[in-house]
Every structure is written in structure tokens, then in C-alpha cells.
């Protein structure tokens, strides 16, 4: 029972589930698109103002849409007893949770990155800022997925875990939000934003190393 085998099996299984339950990845994407199209309508025909607030708006929208599906991440396997059997067999849950997180990112993070250039145009972002948006999303959305998986694992057996989940992970999202929108803002002034990207990459590395271990522990506690 190696981590790699469990990772591969879980990842393939999650991809099948993503293909079958399209709502799981369509809903966050639609939510993201709706927020970003409503903003120009709500703010009105003020291109300068829009351009100014765009970095924050895009990042808040991305954060909320990842949060939208976060609660469901481990819920079904918990209810069906799949997790229980994995824990009883002492299967390597790190492989399982990494696969879940990776597939979760493919469902809720990657689509956002793919549509973000289009949406950045709605908000009148320059090409430099647009590149920064895509780069920060590339580094930031995996981090969002990791943190939301941590929240989902911690609140797994809580009856109405949704609010609790939000309360637990929102503080962890804030540094990400600050550095990511700062990077986009710097880029829109034509300044160098490598420092912000480096900080995002560092946060991603730390989370990638620690979150699967924490998720494994949290899943075990919740099943017991």
C-alpha cells in the first residue's frame, strides 16, 4: 500500500467523478464569471475606477468560488463509509488527500485560471496586469485548494460545517489575498512584482508540505 498507488487510484477516481458530476466544477466557474460580470454593471461606466479595483475583485471572486465547493471535498467519502474503510486499513491517507486536493484544484482552480484573461478584459486590465493575474492565480489557487481541504477535513463531522469552515480558513486566505492583489497592482503600474510572486510560491511550498499531513490527522480524528 504505497502512497503512490493510493494517490494514483484516488486521482483517477476523482477525475471520473469530475467528469460525471459536472456541477462540481461548473458551479464555481459560473459563480466566478457572474461576480466579475456584475461588477462593471454595478460600478457603472467608470473604467479608471474599475481598473483600480480589479485586482482585489478578481481575487475575492476566486477565493469565494473555491470556498463554494470546499465543504463537499471529503463529505461524500465520509458519509458513504469509504474514509472509514481507508482508516481501518491504515491506508496512506497522505496519498489519498493529495489526490483529492489535486483533483479539487483541477475542478475549482484551473477553470478560473483559464477564463481569467477574458474576465480581466471586462475590467479593463492592461496586458501586464493580466499576465500578473494569471501568474498569481497559478500560484494562488493551488494554495486555496490546499487550505480549503484542511478546513473541510477539520469540519468533516460537524453537522453544519459550512460556516465553521469559512471561519477557520478565511484568516489563512488573507495573506494570500494581500500579496496576490499587491502583485497585480504593481504590475498595472508597470513595476516589478517578483517579490510578491516569490512570497506566494513560498506559501504554496509550505502548505504543500504541511497540509496533507494535517488533513490526514484531521480525517483520522473525524472518523474515530
Amino acid at each position: 500500500m504505497s502512497h503512490a498507488n493510493v494517490f494514483r487510484a484516488t486521482f483517477q477516481r476523482e477525475l471520473k467523478l469530475l467528469a460525471r458530476q459536472k456541477a462540481d466544477w461548473v458551479n464555481p466557474l459560473l459563480f466566478f464569471i457572474i461576480i466579475l460580470t456584475l461588477f462593471p454593471l454595478g460600478v457603472g461606466a467608470k473604467p479608471n475606477l474599475l481598473r483600480e479595483i480589479a485586482p482585489g475583485v478578481i481575487w475575492i471572486a476566486a477565493l469565494l468560488s473555491v470556498l463554494l465547493g470546499a465543504e463537499r471535498q471529503f463529505r461524500q467519502d465520509y458519509r458513504d463509509g469509504v474514509l472509514e474503510q481507508l482508516v481501518a486499513a491504515r491506508s496512506p491517507l497522505v496519498g489519498y488527500s493529495l489526490a483529492k486536493i489535486a483533483a479539487g484544484w483541477l475542478g475549482s482552480g484551473l477553470p478560473l485560471i483559464l477564463v481569467s484573461p477574458l474576465l480581466a478584459l471586462f475590467l479593463g486590465l492592461s496586458t501586464e496586469a493580466l499576465t500578473a493575474v494569471v501568474l498569481t492565480l497559478l500560484l494562488g489557487t493551488p494554495l486555496l485548494s490546499l487550505l480549503s481541504a484542511l478546513g473541510a477535513a477539520l469540519t468533516l463531522s460537524a453537522d453544519k460545517g459550512g460556516i465553521l469552515l469559512t471561519l477557520i480558513i478565511l484568516p489563512l486566505y488573507i495573506p494570500l489575498l494581500i500579496f496576490a492583489s499587491a502583485a497585480v497592482e504593481q504590475a498595472s503600474f508597470g513595476l516589478n512584482y517578483q517579490a510578491q510572486l516569490a512570497v506566494l510560491a513560498a506559501m504554496l511550498c509550505v502548505a504543500l508540505a504541511l497540509v496533507p499531513l494535517a488533513v490526514q490527522k484531521a480525517l483520522k480524528l473525524n472518523v474515530g
Binding site: 458513504d80 481501518a88 474515530g224
Partner: protein, 206 residues
């Protein structure tokens, strides 16, 4: 002696379900845990499966306390709880493939196995479209795949028809003859051909 428990006690929501419970499971034996609803049968099985720590007492696998032998024990244990462990959007074949990878089981002919369990023609339908009994059969298919010596089954006969119950008891008998041991809960009397089913009754306590 494969599995033994000494002086186990379990407390749920300030209610003592059982205390000072001793239990032994030998190779080739079927032990049925009986008792009313809420008597603590499932809690006992979850403790014995190592999912929950008992309030008090000790579990030994082959005379070794679980704290030393947990990995060996888990490798040699097949636990099927009252939740089926079947992912409803996946087909029976896909569920089997996932277990095989996660529990490191040897490859075998899944189609033949599912046909043997009366699921011929239903192999590639999402499990949520199967009836409760058929889903249970998918979940119990693991017993035909596993090489584990100790089986812990929580209400394995629920929702099964007569034919499936007979197939399951035959499988249990074969497992015992091969030196395995089965610990199960059931509200119906369990008869395993060629084997005496030992009973342990948990009293319902206030």
C-alpha cells in the same frame, strides 16, 4: 488466538455501553455479537477495528497489544461497517478497482465475481441506481477479494435476499475452513454450514 480484548469499556454521551468486556477470537471461528439496538454492537466493532480507542482496556492481535502491532493487524483485517463504503456515482467495477488499489489486493476477474454475486449486467451502472441489496452485494464483494484473516462485519445480512445470504454464509464457511475468523453483528440467527457460531450478547444498559 487471533484477536483478544481484555476489560474493554466504552462510554457514549455519558452512557456506559459496556465495561469489563472480555472477548477472544480464534482462527476458524465465527463470533456473533448480539444485542438490542443501541446496546453498543457497532461501537464494539469500531473499537475492535482500531477506528476508535476504547475508554479502557486493551486489544491484542496475536498476543501483541495493538499499540505494537497496529500495522500488521490492519493488513490482516477486513472491516465492513454499516456504511457500505460504495461511492454511489461510480460503477461496481470502478468501486472494486479503487479498493484493489487502496488495499493492495491481487488482480482478479471482477466480471466473474460480480456475476457470481448476482450482479451480471449491472457492472457498469452507477451504484446509486442499484437497489439497497445490490449495493450491499457490491460492498461485500470485498470479501471475495481480500486475503485478510480477520473479518469484522457490521450487519452484513442487511437488505440481502435469501440467495445472497446463502452465498455470504458459504463464503464465511470457506473463510473459516481456510483458517480465518469472522466477527459479525446480526439480529437474525446466523447459521454457517459446518461451523458453530459462538454468540456474545451485549446487554442494553441505561
Amino acid at each position: 488466538m487471533l484477536l483478544s480484548a481484555r476489560q474493554l469499556s466504552c462510554i457514549r454521551q455519558d452512557r456506559v455501553l459496556f465495561e469489563q468486556l472480555d472477548l477472544q477470537l480464534h482462527a476458524g471461528e465465527v463470533l456473533q455479537i448480539a444485542g438490542k439496538n443501541g446496546a453498543g454492537k457497532s461501537s464494539l466493532l469500531r473499537i475492535l477495528a482500531g477506528l476508535v480507542d476504547p475508554e479502557d482496556g486493551e486489544i491484542c492481535y496475536q498476543q501483541q497489544p495493538l499499540s505494537h502491532s497496529a500495522d500488521d493487524y490492519a493488513d490482516n483485517l477486513c472491516f465492513i461497517g454499516h456504511l457500505a463504503g460504495v461511492q454511489p456515482q461510480l460503477t461496481a467495477l470502478e468501486n472494486l478497482a479503487f479498493w484493489r488499489a487502496c488495499f493492495a489486493l491481487a488482480p482478479a476477474d471482477d466480471w466473474a465475481l460480480l456475476a457470481q454475486l448476482g450482479l451480471a449486467g449491472l457492472e457498469d451502472i452507477p451504484c446509486q441506481q442499484l437497489s439497497a441489496g445490490q449495493q450491499r452485494r457490491v460492498s461485500l464483494a470485498r470479501l471475495w477479494l481480500t486475503t485478510a484473516q480477520i473479518w469484522i462485519l457490521d450487519e452484513p445480512f442487511t437488505a440481502l435476499d435469501q440467495g445472497a445470504i446463502a452465498a455470504l454464509t458459504r463464503r464465511i464457511a470457506a473463510h473459516c475452513e481456510a483458517g480465518g475468523a469472522v466477527l459479525l453483528t446480526s439480529h437474525q440467527p446466523v447459521e454457517v454450514p459446518g461451523h458453530v457460531v459462538r454468540q456474545l450478547t451485549l446487554e442494553y444498559r441505561w
